[in-house]
Each structure stands twice: as C-alpha cells, then as structure tokens.
C-alpha cells in the first residue's frame, strides 16, 4: 500500500528524515516509520583493498565521527594480524580517543541537544535553538565551548594527524611516539577539559535538575522504553570507550551476557524491514519479536544511557560521583528514559576529560616503544570501540596477502535503530487522534531522536543546512491524509 514519494528538500542533506504514519480504518495510528537514507555499497567497495588502508578509508566514510571509525578499524587490524600493541601505544590511542570524546560530547551538549533541555522543552519554538542556549548560559560560555573544542581538535591533529582523516593507528601500535612538548599540551588541554566538564555538570544541575518540570518530562512515559542495553566495560565493569568486553543487561538491569568483540556474531543479529534501508540490530539469542519492549524482545539500546546502565560505575572520581547521583535521582538501575541520555552524556564527558588527564600524566605515555611489528598471516579480525553514539563494530576477512575479501560494519546508530523507531511510533500514537495530527508531534519526535544523537547515513557531510523532517499520514487505503514538513 506504500507508494513512492519524492522529497524535495531545498538542499541535499544527508540523513534527511521522513516519517510515514499509517492509520487504520478508525483513523488511529496503525504504525509509524522513520525513514532514513543509508550508505550503499560498503562491502563491495572494501573488497580487494589492502587491510592496512581500512583505518584511513573507513575514517573517511563519515564526517561526524572519523576518529571512532579509525580506532575500531585499527583494532580490527590488531586482531587481523594477531598482534598486541605495546601498552604505551594503547595509552596514546586512548588519550587521543578520550580527547575526541570530550569535543564531540561538548558539541552535542550545548549546541545540538542543548536547545531541548537548556532552553527548555516548553519554551517557544523560536527560542529553542543555539541562540536560546546562549541566552540562557551566557555568551562567554559559547566562546568557551568553541575555544575548548578548538584546543582539543588541535591536540588530536598534533598527535594523530588531521582531525578529519586521522592517520595514527597502525596494526600493532601507533605511527609515532608523543613528544614531551605534546604531552604538556595534552596535560593543559585535559585540565581545561576537566574544569569544563565540572561546569557542564553544574549547568545540568542548575537548569535541568533544579526544575521539577524537566525531571518529570525526562521520566515521563512518552520517552520511556524498557529494553536491553549494550556497552563496553573494563575488567572492573566500569565504562570504557576504547577497550574491554561488551556487556548486555536486561530490562531489569541484570547482566544478560558479556562477550568479547570477536564473538559479536554470536550475539548481535540484524533485522531487515521492507520499508527501510536501515538494518535493525537485536540480540540474536533473545530473538526479533517485532518492535516491542521487555525481556522477551531482543531490541537493545546503545550510547551514553546504555553505557551507564551496563556498567557498575565510572573509573574516575568526579564522573563516579555524578554516576551515583544519576541513578539515585532517576530511581535506580537501569534507567529507561531516553531523554536521560543528555545527562549521561555529560557524565561521560567528565569521565573522558578525567581519563585524558590520567593518561597524559602516565609516565608510560612518553615511551618511544609504540609499535609491535605484525608477522602473522592475516585471515580475519574484529575491532570494537564505543563511538560517542554507541558500540561500533568493524569486521574484516582477508586473503593471505591481506586483501579484503569481506567487510562488515555495524554502526552505533543501527544499535539504536529499533528503539528509535519505537520512540517515533510512540510519539505518533500520543499525538494523533482520529486522523488529526497535532503540530506538537514534530517537536516530540525530534526530541526523542535527538537524545539518541543518531548519525543517519554514517556517510555524510552536508552542505550546511538542516535536516528536513517530513511527516506523511496515510489512511488505511494508503492515501495521503496530511503532511507536515519542516525544511
């Protein structure tokens, strides 16, 4: 009953969203779908290429999180060549990665997610934007965010080559050691980042937590889904972005499974729907039970909230304190409220900043021994990291000469795809009655998916513009009843 429709945005924007809502004969929502364009042809593109080129190639797939792809790919090469990087090289990788996390989370917190919860969800539409954020937190803070991000991005360039196309990761280590003066710059950047992180916690506390209406909204049913959660943890089950095992907890918060990245195919499966290019991840051993919640459904969630839910704590002091406040305020583990992702993101920002400071002060980070030369014949390798948006898997198989025969990526947005679809559906059901569509729905839908910080397409840059959002409502016969668009 679906027909093809042309979207006509004013500029090309990767990841434009189209929401299709199908009504039943009574005019109530039968099903709502979020459509996104998807990257095509990666597997074919990768075939026959040299495995050691993959960290450069995959980091160019996405203009948003190149460092995450670079890191996952580098770790996949370690595994492919069965080579262990020296401890110093791992620390350099993690230092660069932590720096990337701070700048990425800072951007989201203030400028991208900020309009929803700093300005406030009930503020007039005209104020719910970056200018509204500045109005609330002050111009100096805006300059501070821009200044800090610039400083951190320069650090990444210093240690890792260009920010856009990082080049530091090699199988078995990194391309060069850190110089003494670079380490000093990292220490300064880390100190700055830690102070900034504490400030962000304060902003969140003063503006969001001090306002009962905000907290009520975060915990409201409209933004709640009881699903499984997935994220990486270290040996002590603390949140880790760079390395560790993958832990999954069930909707009650109990550990469901913990596995190493190389075993992901035994645990993660992808469901395909005829209406979307997106492959929806689910837990293989629970099974796909449709877009439904609860312990019987294999749908899981990734990203900041999920990482906090799967861990037993944060490995650094200020972040740990915030972690404890998070769960005590929101009623214990696990937290099922999608909008809590914003708070979790700030806690992670603090952890990343503190981790930067620890690593920059670690004597081993100055070691010149940064590479173990691989000697094994390559066959197959898996690399996993936590991208800011969730668990990211890279998996390559090669021939004995190291040329790719098969490649598979599971990107973070796929991990959240099913849950995001449920959020859209929930918003539609609450806002459409008897075929009438409420303008407020756009807002509710946007707030729901903005909290996940999705990166649709994972392929993308843009002519700077905004994401057009088109909502089509169709009756039981597939005829267009009404259309809302923002473009």
């Amino acid at each position: 009953m679906t027909r093809e429709f042309t979207i006509d945005p004013i500029t090309r924007l990767e990841g434009h969203g189209k929401i299709q809502i199908f009504l039943n004969d009574a005019g109530e929502v039968d099903r709502a779908y979020l459509q996104v364009p998807e990257l095509r042809g990666f597997e074919k593109f990768a075939e026959g290429r040299r495995a050691e080129d993959m960290p450069q190639i995959t980091s160019r797939i996405c203009g948003v999180c190149p460092t995450a792809h670079h890191m996952a790919s580098t770790k996949a090469l370690d595994d492919l060549y069965k080579v262990e990087a020296p401890a110093s090289a791992k620390k350099i990788r993690e230092l660069i990665y932590s720096t990337f996390f701070v700048e990425d989370h800072a951007l989201h917190f203030f400028f991208l997610g900020g309009p929803d919860f700093i300005v406030g969800p009930t503020a007039p539409k005209a104020e719910r934007n970056i200018l509204g954020v500045l109005g609330k937190v002050g111009l100096e803070i805006g300059k501070e965010v821009i200044g800090l991000r610039k400083q951190l991005r320069e650090l990444i360039s210093l240690a890792g080559g260009k920010v856009i196309h990082p080049v530091f990761g090699l199988p078995g280590g990194v391309s060069r050691p850190l110089k003494a003066e670079d380490i000093e710059k990292f220490k300064a950047g880390a100190a700055h980042a830690v102070e900034f992180g504490k400030f962000c916690l304060k902003v969140f506390g003063d503006i969001v937590l001090a306002n009962a209406a905000y907290v009520d909204m975060i915990t409201s049913d409209a933004y709640t889904h009881r699903t499984y959660y997935m994220g990486m943890v270290d040996a002590g089950n603390k949140v880790n972005f760079y390395d560790g095992d993958i832990r999954v907890v069930d909707p009650e918060g109990r550990e469901y499974v913990k596995f190493s990245g190389g075993d992901y195919l035994g645990h993660v499966a992808e469901h395909v729907e005829p209406w979307s290019y997106m492959k929806f991840c689910y837990l293989k051993n629970v099974g796909w039970k449709g877009f439904s919640e609860g312990g019987e459904s294999g749908i899981y969630s990734v990203a900041p909230l999920a990482r906090l839910n799967v861990s037993d704590g944060m490995a650094t002091p200020v972040a740990q304190e915030a972690y404890e406040q998070f769960f005590s305020t929101l009623g214990g583990k696990p937290v099922h409220h999608t909008l809590a992702n914003h708070w979790a993101r700030v806690i992670e920002l603090v952890y990343a900043a503190e981790r930067m400071a620890e690593l920059a002060s670690d004597p081993e980070i100055a070691s010149p021994d940064v590479r173990t030369i691989p000697t094994a014949t390559p066959k197959e390798g898996v690399g996993v990291v936590e991208a800011p948006r969730g668990t990211l898997f890279h998996h390559y198989a090669t021939n004995e000469r190291g040329l790719i025969t098969k490649a598979n990526l599971i990107v973070a947005t796929q991990g959240n795809a099913a849950r995001t679809a449920m959020s859209v559906d929930k918003a539609a059901r609450s806002m459409i009655k008897g075929g009438e569509i409420d303008e407020g729905m756009l807002n509710q839908v946007e707030m729901a998916f903005r909290a996940y910080d999705p990166c649709h397409g994972c392929a993308t840059h843009t002519l700077p513009g905004q994401m057009p959002l088109i909502v089509e409502v169709r009756d039981a016969g597939g005829e267009l009843v009404s259309e809302l668009r923002r473009d």
């Binding site: 500029t11 160019r60 203009g63 309009p115 513009g465």
Partner: protein, 162 residues
C-alpha cells in the same frame, strides 16, 4: 591599508561517495593556481564542526553537491546563506550554516564577511566507490571558473577600497 584579505576556498563532500566527491574534486585542482590568493581546503565535516575551518578568513567560497531532484543533474546554483533556512537544528548533526551564522554574529567571532556557495546538482551522493555521474563530471570545469571569478571579484573589490 591593513592586512591582506584572507580568502578560503572550501570543497565539501565525501570523496568516497560517488557524486558527493564533486566539491572536493572541483577545488583540489585549484590548489596550486590559487596559491597566494586563497587557501584551498577539502572537508568532509558537517554542520557546526565546520566552524573552525572558517575562523580567521575574510571571505569564503563553498563548493558542494546538492541533490534537490528539482533541477537537471549538473546544474550549478549560487546559494545565499540567508536562504538556507531558519535558525533551527532539528537533528543533532545538522546544525548548519544558519545556526553557525547566528552564533558567529552573537559571539562576534572572526568569520568571513563574504560568503558564497556554489552547489552542483547531483544524481547519486550515497553509493560508496562509484564514479561521478557524467553530467557532474562535466560541470567541474564550470564550477572552477565560478570560483576563480568570485575570488578575483573579491580581490578587485578589496583593491578598489584600498
């Protein structure tokens, strides 16, 4: 007169994604001939993350691909930043130029006072590893001419003022 005008030529796109490479490929060939007159930069970054790239320049030309579906493939349009939409960022990664300009204005950042966008209509910006569509490939020369003319015009304006 004050310091020399600093001009940026920015190619946006993703080299790996078929037609999305258009902006990148168009400016790459200008790098040498523009030396001394403009900095030629290629970027795959999106939205707000691009802000760093612009800071410190007096004038900037952006070259990019667009896929509106409403014009023949290969058509070049000159877009004005103010026509790109309202100050609103409905999705995390697409806080775009309007937001950036509003922020720049509010924070009084050192952002180009002159900004022009040349956008070429493309057919397929989504397939990894594909070649440019023929019409897009043919438009690259014209894109470069437009950039040259624009940079020249700004330099002339600057000279006139001086």
């Amino acid at each position: 007169m004050g310091k020399l005008m600093r001009t940026l030529v920015l190619g946006l796109g993703n080299e790996l994604l078929s037609d999305d490479a258009a902006g990148i490929l168009a400016v790459r060939a200008l790098r040498e001939e523009m030396a001394g007159r403009a900095d030629v930069v290629e970027s795959s970054m999106a939205g707000m993350a691009l802000l760093d790239v612009f800071l410190g320049y007096d004038a900037a030309v952006i070259v990019d691909a667009v896929c509106t579906g409403s014009k023949p493939v290969g058509t070049i349009s000159e877009l004005m930043p103010e026509n790109l939409g309202r100050v609103l960022a409905p999705s995390p990664h697409y806080a775009g130029l309007p937001e950036m300009l509003a922020l720049v204005d509010k924070l009084e950042l050192d952002f180009p006072k002159k900004l022009t966008i040349f956008a070429v209509e493309v057919a397929d910006p989504y397939t990894l590893g594909g070649d440019l569509t023929e019409e897009v490939a043919q438009a690259l020369g014209e894109l470069r001419s437009r950039v040259r003319v624009q940079v020249e015009r700004w330099a002339q304006e600057e000279a006139d003022i001086a």
